[in-house]
Amino acid sequence: MRRPRKPLALASAALLPALALAPACRSGLDEPAPLPALDEAYFRCRVQPVLTKSCGAFACHGDARRYFHMFARSRLRLGGTEEQRNGLMRDQERAFNFDAARAMVSVDEPDESLLLRKPLETSAGGYYHGAVPLGSSNIFPNKDDPDYKTLAAWASGAKEDPACVEPGSDL
């Protein structure tokens, strides 16, 4: 005997609202997010020396395979020969370092920036940093460290005279 079709029809009808709920894409998914408009002169003359000294070793962020990597004299360079490794920083290298560092800054919450929290000791509020197992402590023991303050000031919008001369520029 043929079974009644009513249950199947009811079930089909119940699913129609589900199809109607098919969502449109969330708006703003492709929205550009330009890099933070931080001061280039302050970076070049104050931040870059800190990064070169504390971050740019070959085993650390002087390795191009790292998501955050940077160029520095006698360290990672953009092309050139081994003899040229200690040559003056090129404009492209400076510009890339500026972009790479800005990508690690949160302008809305500067203190939350990876550029600040990764090299900061955990007890001072820092995040886990792969450099720690290599030594006895993180790069900055606390927020009073002068170099930390330099990075923090830049992330918060500090400015420098555009005519400043960067250390190691041979000028």
Partner: protein, 363 residues
Amino acid sequence: MQLKGALIAGISAASLVALTARAQPVATVDARAGIYLDSDHTTIVTTTAAASGTIKDRVTISGRYLADIVTSASVDVVSAATAKFEETRHEASGSVAYADGTTTGSLGYVFSIENDWTSHSINGGASRDFYDHQLTASLGGSLTFNAVGRSGDENFARDLTQGSVALGASVVPSKNDLVNVTYTFMVLSGYQASPYRFVYFKSPAVTALTAGNPETDPEGRIRHALGARWNRHVFSESAIRSQARVYLDDWGVISGTLGVEYVVGFGPVDAAVFARGYGQRAATFYEATYEERRRYMTADRELSTFVDAFGGVRVGYRGHFTKVIQEFRAELKAEAFVFHYFDYPLLVDRTGFTLETGLGASF
């Protein structure tokens, strides 16, 4: 992975009610072990132990413990700083279910913890048969609170909350057919990126170079899934189980799944061969390398465009032993799979297999 697991759990909440409702023995114990190996240098060993007890044929109390030991050097996590990791996930769950032959209800709790993720989930469901059991309507839901951490990092903490509702209907259009349709709606709110994952975008100053940026996903997500299963009894002792599922969300992901399984019984032994295919369109904001920096950027291959195919065999045994052991169960399952990613340069293809075995008894 967590999200997908939660969605599957949400979808199956209603069917779990039905399964539990049919438990007739007073007590059951089950243990399973499995291993997953893939060409992306990932191994997962899973062990599960579960037990349940039924009171007066109507109320079943269940508990389960699961441990996943994951060892991975996947391209998804390996960087110059991270070569390999190993972690263990522990999951404990408990539920109480009611069934009287027409109506079912259940309430459950799941706790899961690993070194960088802790979650608490509550789930519930109910179903009722209509038209002389020709139609079963079910409603299930879950609410999960996740605490997302970062391995070795006591200062990184984010929250992710997810809720789901599953509405299902099962009909028996003929004596040989059982059809189930389930719609699942899920909302997620909170941190959905990976704290380990970075993306690359072209440096505005030097476009030949790419700079890294932490992955940034939207904090909200709305997901819809509509699944259908059709079990048809064929010949004398066999059945074809087929399934289809469509999924879409407001991140632009659209996917479809088709699967079929042929099961044949030989007395207490049943054997099955199965295959499943899946295809997915990427999230709108996914790109392998971004031409410009964007508000939302992800390098999650699970959000890229890809297809996968699974196939395998399963052999099960159910036999009556003694008056005390009403039923003894054993199962062996082997499955192979292949993934093909259309826009994930780090890994174009991923292949692997899983082996699972289970033992259980009812008293």
